[in-house]
Amino acid sequence: MSTGASKLDVVVSNVVPVNELVTRFHFRRADGGLLPTFSGGAHVIVEMRDGERARLNPYSLMSSPLDTSEYTISVRRDDLGRGGSLFMHGKVRPGDRMVISYPVNLFSLDLRAKKHLMLAGGIGITPFLAQTAQLAAEGGNFELHYSVRTAALATYAGDLRARFGRRVSIYHDDRDERIPLDRLLSSQPLGTHLYICGPAGMIDWARARAAALGWPAETVHYEHFAAPQPGVPFDVTLALSGRTIHVAEQQSLLEAIEAAGVDPPYLCRGGVCGQCETNVISSDGVFLHNDHWLSDEDHASGKKIMPCVSRFAGKSLVLER
């Protein structure tokens, strides 16, 4: 059986520009009822129907898990992306009907932690908005360190400071402020867990320093928000369904497979959950792996691909789909 997430019919109840790059979207249930309860760190997949095109992108829920009258997400405009964020910013209006998935949490708090140490970079702040709301309500011990480019782009920094005071520290790139990572990692009480959400470089940096300073891997949690990147178009043969498909520049391989009427299971659409893992039957070309699921060995083998984020360049690719 498939383990994909169930879906929810929602209405866009509000669209709020937050700053030059980020806009917040509020969703309410179309039937007027309460949305499902969720846990801090969960995301939903938002289905964007843009004429003939369907894009399905994951966004972290940032609203308080204690309030299920609405869900909110924040979308950063990515002018070089595949157009999902531009669609959200440019076309989605209050009153629109949309379909989102049930919440799925792949970035869960470890509730055994004596303290939660959170590191956010840029739009990676969104899951921490929900997690801090959840922890604050339970009297949980947390500390949030948030790195932003400029004060003007410090999304929700003011709200977080107002809500949690000195438990939140902001670092501005344009003022040459940096998260004092080694000092933080060296001065935590036993039983502290580390959470990182931000650009890949920040995650790699924090994981490497934590490992070097003796943090057990089980206490380090991170979420990559690797949206699929656009790329050179390519053709793929789906052996089981007997179809040949074309993956357009702005389309992910998974979306192209779905557009052909084949529905692989998925949860994250961001290269981390493993659900859409697909066997390669044959290939003549180069894989452009962008996932965090397959091992380096798998990547080198040419036998597997994660179609949600990875692409291909070459003469032919035949997949077991």
Binding site: M1, T3, G4, P65, N105, L109, L111, R112, C273
Partner: protein, 346 residues
């Protein structure tokens, strides 16, 4: 139409029995004439009206008496109910799941009124009327998991999910087939399944864990498991082995029909929303051989399954001592005619 709750016992005089309607709805676990482990997991969606799968959480005629038996077990041995400190939130999740499911499926017996965090729960069969604040431990007589599972048939394990594994970090276990929560508490999925024969070699636990860690909110799953029990005893725990183990030597050709019970577990798996933990209810259904053979198909099939069961499985399920007697008794109900596919009585 309400449920007609029976007054009966699962110990001492063993007055437990199934009404004719309950025999027909018994979750017979064999869809063919032989049995081997498989990852037999399917979506936990509504089944036919009247079946144990009609509602997401089944309540049946044994409810009131099973809850009385659970209270007796807990009074003797409080360690049957344990929750590690980080699992309290999951306990509230479970309380919400069970209260809402029961109130929705059985409005004549249960009701739940919610006004924000102010909840009002009425359980008519057990005579409970409780107002409390959701999330406030001081407003209930027990922790949330213990409170609601003292009012819910079946055992409950709450599994914390972290590091790509599941951890047995809370539960209430009083109707178990010879395993111990007190022994397993804090163990991970591979550790607590270590004693099961054959399945490891088949890679079943690795695949099952991969499936379970991906169970999503709103999409519960289920499977059936089975064993056999002598006398309709719910509490066949290792802690009380001295009470029930010797029963296995008491089976004779004359008493098979009354003493030997097929014990089926309906196991389901649910993602809990606030804690992201997984709850694993294990609901036990018992049926006497005399009751089971009222379905000729079930009788023929059970005879073939028990007769042909691999030795390791028979040993693991504790059947060795009385297997020959049981097979001989069941053979009388097997004329060799084919059985139809599927689980139903005919």
């Amino acid at each position: 139409m309400g449920i007609n709750f029976r007054t009966e016992t699962f110990r001492d005089d063993f007055s437990f029995r199934n009404s004719p309607e309950h025999i027909r709805r018994f979750p017979f676990p064999f869809h063919e004439d032989s049995y081997m482990y498989a990852v037999n997991i399917e979506p936990h969606v509504a089944g036919p009206a009247g079946s144990v799968l009609e509602h997401p959480i089944d309540v049946d005629e044994h409810y009131v008496s099973e809850m009385a038996d659970r209270a007796l077990v807990l009074a003797e041995d409080p360690l049957r109910c344990q929750s590690l400190p980080h699992m309290t939130l999951a306990g509230w999740d479970l309380l919400e799941l069970l209260m809402t499911a029961k109130a929705e499926s059985y409005p004549e017996h249960f009701s739940l009124t919610r006004d924000g965090d102010r909840w009002h729960w009425i359980n008519r069969p057990l005579g409970i009327d409780q107002k409390f604040l959701f999330g406030d431990l001081t407003t209930l007589p027990y922790g949330p998991m213990e409170y609601i599972t003292r009012q819910s048939q079946g055992d409950f394990c709450i599994l914390d999910q972290r590091d790509g594994n599941l951890w047995m970090d809370a539960g209430i276990v009083t109707t178990q087939a010879d395993w111990s929560l007190d022994f397993d508490i804090g163990m991970n999925f591979f550790e607590w399944h270590a004693p099961v024969p054959l399945a490891h070699e088949k890679g079943i636990f690795t695949r099952a864990l991969k499936f379970l860690t991906n169970v999503q909110q709103g999409k519960p799953a289920r499977r059936l498991n089975w064993t056999m029990t002598i006398n309709p005893r719910l509490d066949t725990s290792p802690e009380n082995y001295h009470k029930w183990g010797p029963d296995r030597a008491t089976v004779t050709p004359e008493n098979v029909g009354q003493k030997v019970h097929l014990r089926v577990e309906l196991q389901s798996f649910w993602r809990l929303p606030r804690s992201n933990a997984l709850v694993f209810p294990i609901r036990c259904y018992l049926i006497k051989m005399d009751e089971l053979v009222t379905s000729p198909k079930w009788a023929r099939r059970l005879h073939r399954v028990i007769r042909d069961l691999p030795e390791e499985l028979a040993t693991y399920k504790g059947l060795t001592r009385y297997r020959a007697t049981l097979v001989e008794w069941l053979a009388r109900y097997d004329d060799g005619t084919p059985t139809s596919p599927g689980f139903g009585p005919e």
